[in-house]
């Protein structure tokens, strides 16, 4: 799969990109939080990618989080690893 754009009612000046796993509960919670605040974001479920696309996407994810665990949320120049609602809201300027 490629990146999926979720249109929000409030496009942010910052780019919001989520690297997630389709089966992970914390990744889902992160998506739910982003939906709840209605911002525009893009996500990709890395486990649903294969071949060259997967290599490209995991390399992008690794640059943001060298430890290689998910979810990885990029908000502008900030990166939040794991489901941490307070940090996510703060980075979004909520």
């Amino acid at each position: 799969m490629a990146f999926v754009r979720v249109p929000g009612r409030r496009p942010l000046p910052k780019k919001v990109v989520l690297f997630a796993l389709s089966t992970c509960g914390w990744c889902r919670r992160t998506k739910e939080l982003l939906n709840e605040v209605e911002i525009e974001y893009e996500y990709v479920d890395v486990d649903q990618c294969s071949g060259e696309e997967r290599e490209t996407i995991t390399a992008m994810a690794r640059r943001l989080n060298p430890r290689g665990n998910y979810p990885i949320l990029q908000i502008g120049d900030q990166v939040v690893v794991g489901y941490d609602p307070e940090r996510i809201r703060k980075a979004l300027g909520e």
């Binding site: 992970c24 509960g25 914390w26 430890r67 794991g82 489901y83």
Partner: protein, 178 residues
């Protein structure tokens, strides 16, 4: 993606596995996350992994898709007990502690305990940790001792048991301990 799902909206195999895991957990002194929807969704992910990889890899970790490389993160993973003890929940929050259930520890994701080299290159069996007791001289035992890498159960017998009697991990999760 969002919205609460009722238990009847999950496939019967998901509900059945949830019930079996819950019983096994409680028999072994563990607790499944009581948030039924969160837990059913994790179990759905676990079954999805079993179907696509052939084994129930952790739903919250990116699998290599080769059993030998993912062996330490087949659920229950090798890191569950240490994570439940330190953070009140395993990495996925499928298994949790009484403190977690009571809300005495934060209900959020925890750091990754799996060593970075395993995340990068996959699991590889290694010698028991150097922090253990050093046995001096020649140790003569009538049987080899096998250790369950998930829960630490020890069995002195010719071969490890097919299934760990405590945590139900399969035979391939045992290592030679002595």
């Amino acid at each position: 993606m969002s919205g609460a799902r009722q238990p009847e909206e999950f496939a019967p195999e998901v509900v059945r596995l949830h019930e079996r895991l819950r019983k096994e957990a409680e028999a072994g002194g563990y607790r499944l996350n009581p948030d039924r929807e969160f837990t059913l969704r994790l179990i759905e992910g676990l079954l999805a992994n079993e179907k696509r990889y052939g084994y129930g890899c952790c739903p919250c970790r990116l699998a290599f898709g080769e059993k030998a490389k993912d062996l330490d993160v087949i659920c229950p993973c090798n890191y569950r007990d240490a994570d439940v003890a330190e953070f009140g929940a395993c990495y996925c929050a499928l298994y949790v502690s009484e403190d977690w259930i009571a809300g005495r520890v934060p209900q959020r994701s925890i750091p990754e305990r799996r060593p970075e080299r395993f995340v990068d290159h996959g699991y590889s069996a290694e010698a028991p940790s150097a922090s253990g007791t050093t046995v001096k001289g020649e140790l003569k035992l009538p049987y080899p001792v096998w250790r369950c890498q998930v829960c630490g159960y020890l069995a002195a017998r010719d071969a490890p048991p097919e299934v760990c009697p405590v945590c139900k991990a399969k035979q391939d999760r045992f290592e030679r301990f002595l």
